[in-house]
């Protein structure tokens, strides 16, 4: 599994590098990644083992290991990620017009596929979280790919904030559950589920994360917002795979926790049904084909949450079948919407007319996929929906059944709306308007991917035995009892078939008589998007106010605050635990005494200086004096560094002094002067006391001997300072140079802005610095 992930990372890197040269063909290269997943899955499953594991220790201290485990559900999800992913890449090859940044896009898409694969095979809860977040981030990058479009940026940010906040809640939940259960291993946690209060609070948080990811009410609004992404992204992430991540997790948890926790079943059923109905109803009012499908996806996700959430084997089985069926037909539908958009340059059903006669093949694909979604016999959608109805009837879940039938009726209605809005009507109207381009049918290669998906829908619908093994093993891996159920193309005449017929009939009626009155009422209902927008605006206003108070812009105030905090916080500890320094030597040699005296004089001179340049030079003298002290003590490395740093700082100071007034301005206010002197004295006394106490405060034996004895044999060097820096404590050094590099970049970004045309407001910061200094003087 690790090798598959590494291969995907390689493909992503190559895609990114070769994007410019390959044009749209970069997607055929990217298709290698999902193809590798499928090939690997085939090879692994043919081995005959039910569960394949791969463990590599990573951070054992945190309980975070590269712990991978492929079971039935993981295999089904991998088949979807790889299979549909492959089709998506083939589709994207024709969807995009050549543009220079397609390599970047392909790289994101491959990275997403790899992250999603990692998510479904991760057996360590923290590892699962890492992949979970990676899918959120790649989703953000993919939605916002068209970064010059405001809608794309807003949609991307909205999706990231909602799923990211959910992810944060989930991380807290994971830690709580793992602490209670004593392990981060998902399979061990589920084998011996913790049920104390903290674990259940954790469970609720994890569930919250799953709800945001799978766009459940009231977090459903980000999914339609994500529709500003290019269509391959919508088809892949936002219908087939990523939004199933939450469902995947619920499917794993439900069989265990549905029986242990009283609130589990009501929560899942209520949230799922609400999502199903809200999404279905909203889909009926959409005019954009993609938004219609997005709301439909929300609705279907709600449906699947109900099925896998109740934790009853028969419904879990139906839910897993539904995951498969939905991924296949919804990806095809999104692809169709993309083709329509590509050929007709609009997705607005008011402007689309009679596409059916222009592109009959696309229409045929759309009809089969929509019928599968509506649950028409002979298609995979029907097979899985019948399984669901049968389970609901068997378990006598009265009102859940009612809700699901109502939701299915809405599904039928918006399915019909999609078909009629997108393809029906008379074709001639398009040429009437001046400026309208003649719509041409899509190239045959553009249709390959949706046709393959539709063929899968039909074949699996007529002969469900072909996919039965996969679905049974997937359901069985979360609930062993579920293996007794099987998919059937035809369940015979009975209540489930009656419910299907009822849903189709009711849906057709809703589509024909659109219930105008009810629509008007619901259009006034509060919209989750508005709640999101006003919350965001409120947070921004609050942040503005806090910043205005905390960051007033006066450098002296900032410095004063920093110094006062430095002195008081550790200062209190020093006063409380004062240790007198051990045997105090005034000076070890006359040279030392003289140098120290010079340092003191230079420091006093720096205070007394009225010109800035003089003060800086005296400060430099202090630094050089300290370097001499290091030399006397026999620390050449320290002395060298101190000397060089002092020189550098001095020169840089002089560079800055050029923009500052020559003299310090005299502080007029007596109070200000007293405050400044007090702070300065405080810092001085604190630094001195700290140095004295540090000498006395040693509690553990010095590490120096240890370092000295190990430098040569282990580090291979005789300069202990350097061996410590580059070997023993190399990680610290790495952290420090990273900080250095970041600071350097930051300084350049901030200060170079003022030389760029139009970068005026950044340059003002420097003037602000000067301004602040003057303010202090006032």
């Amino acid at each position: 599994m690790i090798s598959v992930l590494l291969f995907c990372a390689l493909v992503a890197a190559v895609c990114g590098a070769l994007g410019r040269r390959l044009g749209t063909r970069v997607f055929l290269l990217g298709a290698l990644a999902p193809a590798a997943m499928i090939a690997w899955l085939g090879a692994t499953r043919s081995g005959g083992e039910d569960v394949v594991t791969e463990v590599l220790s990573w951070l054992p201290v945190l309980g975070l290991d590269l712990d991978f485990r492929l079971d039935g559900l993981g295999s089904l999800m991998t088949a979807l990620i790889g299979g549909i992913g492959f089709m998506i890449f083939v589709y994207a090859w024709r969807y995009f017009a050549p543009r220079p940044d397609l390599g970047r896009f392909a790289a994101y898409l491959v990275t997403f596929a790899a992250s999603m694969f990692g998510l479904v095979v991760a057996n360590n809860f923290l590892l699962l979280f890492i992949f979970w977040e990676l899918t959120s981030i790649t989703s953000y990058l993919l939605i916002g790919f068209d970064d010059e479009s405001a809608a794309a940026r807003t949609g991307a940010l909205q999706a990231l904030l909602v799923t990211g906040l959910g992810g944060l809640a989930m991380l807290g939940g994971i830690v709580l559950m793992a602490q209670a259960g004593g392990t981060y291993s998902l399979s061990e946690l589920l084998a011996d589920p913790p049920t104390e209060t903290t674990a259940l609070a954790g469970l609720a948080l994890v569930l919250l994360g799953a709800f945001t990811k799978s766009a459940q009410f009231p977090f459903h609004f980000w999914l339609p917002g994500a529709m500003s992404a290019p269509t391959p992204v919508s088809a892949y992430l936002h219908s087939a795979t990523m939004v199933k991540a939450g469902i995947y997790l619920i499917a794993r948890l439900a069989p265990v926790y549905a029986l242990l926790v009283a609130w589990w079943r009501p929560t899942l059923v209520v949230v799922g049904l609400l999502t199903m109905l809200v999404g279905g109803w909203r889909a009926l009012t959409q005019r954009d084909l993609k938004l219609l499908l997005a709301q439909g996806t929300v609705s279907q996700l709600g449906f699947i949450v109900v099925l896998v959430g109740v934790g009853i084997p028969e419904l879990t089985f139906a839910g897993v079948a539904m995951i498969l069926a939905h991924a296949v037909f919804k990806a095809a539908l999104f692809m169709v919407a993309g083709i329509v958009d590509h050929q007709a340059h609009t997705r607005d059903i008011r402007r689309l007319n009679g596409l059916g006669t222009i592109m009959p093949a696309t229409l045929a694909v759309a009809i089969v996929a929509t019928f599968s979604m509506m649950g028409v016999p002979g298609l995979l959608g029907f097979v899985s929906k019948e399984a669901a109805f049968e389970g609901l009837v068997h378990e006598r879940l009265g009102w859940a059944t009612l809700g699901v039938v109502a939701g299915s009726a809405l599904t039928v209605a918006y399915g019909l709306r999609f078909l009629s809005g997108g393809f029906m009507g008379k074709p001639e109207s398009q040429t009437d308007q001046p400026g309208d381009v003649l719509i041409s049918p899509p190239r045959p290669t553009f249709l390959i991917a949706p046709i393959v998906l539709v063929v899968v829908t039909v074949v699996a619908g007529l002969a469900p035995a072909l996919v039965d093994d996969m679905v049974v093993s997937a359901a069985g891996s979360v609930d062993p009892v579920a293996t007794q159920y099987h998919l059937a193309a035809w369940h015979g005449f009975g209540v489930p078939l009656g419910l299907s017929a009822l849903a189709i009939a009711a849906g057709w009626m809703v589509w024909r008589w659109p219930l105008q009155g009810l629509r008007r009422i619901t259009s006034r209902a509060p919209d989750a998007t508005h709640v999101y927008a006003s919350t965001l605006a409120g947070i921004n206003r609050f942040a503005d106010r806090v910043t205005a108070v905390v960051q007033g812009g006066s450098l002296p105030v900032y410095l004063g605050v920093i110094m006062v905090v430095t002195v008081t916080a550790p200062g209190i500890l020093i006063v409380r635990n004062w240790l007198p320094p051990p045997a105090f030597t005034f000076a070890e040699s006359p040279v030392q005494a003289v140098t120290a005296a010079l340092v003191v004089v230079a420091a006093l001179a720096a205070i007394a200086a009225s010109r800035r340049l003089a003060a800086v030079l005296f400060l430099g003298a202090v630094g050089y004096g300290v370097a001499v002290l290091f030399v006397i003590q026999g620390a050449p490395d320290l002395a060298l560094t101190q000397l060089l740093i002092e020189t550098l700082v001095l020169t840089l100071f002089i560079l800055v002094l050029r923009v500052l007034p020559r003299r310090f301005e005299v502080v007029q206010s007596r109070i200000r002067r007293v405050v400044r002197i007090a702070i300065s004295l405080g810092v001085g006394v604190f630094a001195g006391a700290f140095a004295l106490m540090a000498a006395a405060g040693r509690q553990a034996p010095s590490l120096a001997d240890e370092y000295l004895s190990r430098a040569e044999p282990e580090g291979g060097g005789t300069n202990v300072v350097n061996v410590i820096l580059t070997d023993f404590r190399a990680l610290d050094t790495l952290g420090e140079i990273t900080v250095l590099a970041v600071v350097a970049m930051g300084v350049m970004a901030l200060l170079m802005g003022r030389h760029r045309p139009g970068g005026g407001d950044v340059g003002d910061d420097v003037d602000g610095l000067v301004e602040g200094d003057r303010r202090l003087d006032r």
Binding site: N719, V743, L751
Partner: protein, 143 residues
């Protein structure tokens, strides 16, 4: 407008050459005697500043092999890659190894894997100084 002085120019050239050689010496000898990437980088940085004082940003860039940003990025990458290389030998991140070779004329030569790490530090310190000089020194050139 920079007033350039002939004496300063010539002197700076001599000093800078010496400083650069000294800097490389410190870099390579650092493992066994005073020196190391950080100090070597500082010496190089001071050479940069000398060049800047003598002739402005353009003169400084004469001895800078690449732009400050590239310097920072490649230095950090080199150090991190050295750390990752430890994994290839099945060791921990940043775990060091060294080999000793006996060369005909030079005698025993010790090569440590900490050297590339130190070169990364060296590059970052140079990049930092260059970045600071460019950032603070551009625009209001010495008058």
């Amino acid at each position: 407008m920079i007033h350039r002085s002939f004496i300063l120019d010539t002197l700076v050239d001599v000093i800078v050459r010496t400083a650069l050689v000294f800097s490389l010496f410190l870099l390579f000898s650092g493992h066994n005697s005073p020196g190391g990437g950080f100090v070597a980088g500082l010496v190089f940085g001071i050479a940069l500043i000398l060049k800047y004082v003598a002739g402005g940003i353009e003169r400084m860039q004469e001895i800078l092999p690449m732009s400050a940003e590239t310097m920072l990025a490649s230095g950090l990458s080199l150090s991190i890659l050295t750390g990752i290389a430890g994994w290839l030998w099945g060791e921990a991140f940043l775990e060091s190894t060294y080999i000793e070779v006996d060369l005909p004329l030079l005698g025993a030569l010790k090569a440590s894997s900490t050297l590339p790490f130190d070169i990364g530090v060296f590059a970052i310190v140079i990049g930092l100084v260059a970045a600071l000089v460019v950032a603070f020194g551009t625009g209001e050139d010495v008058k």
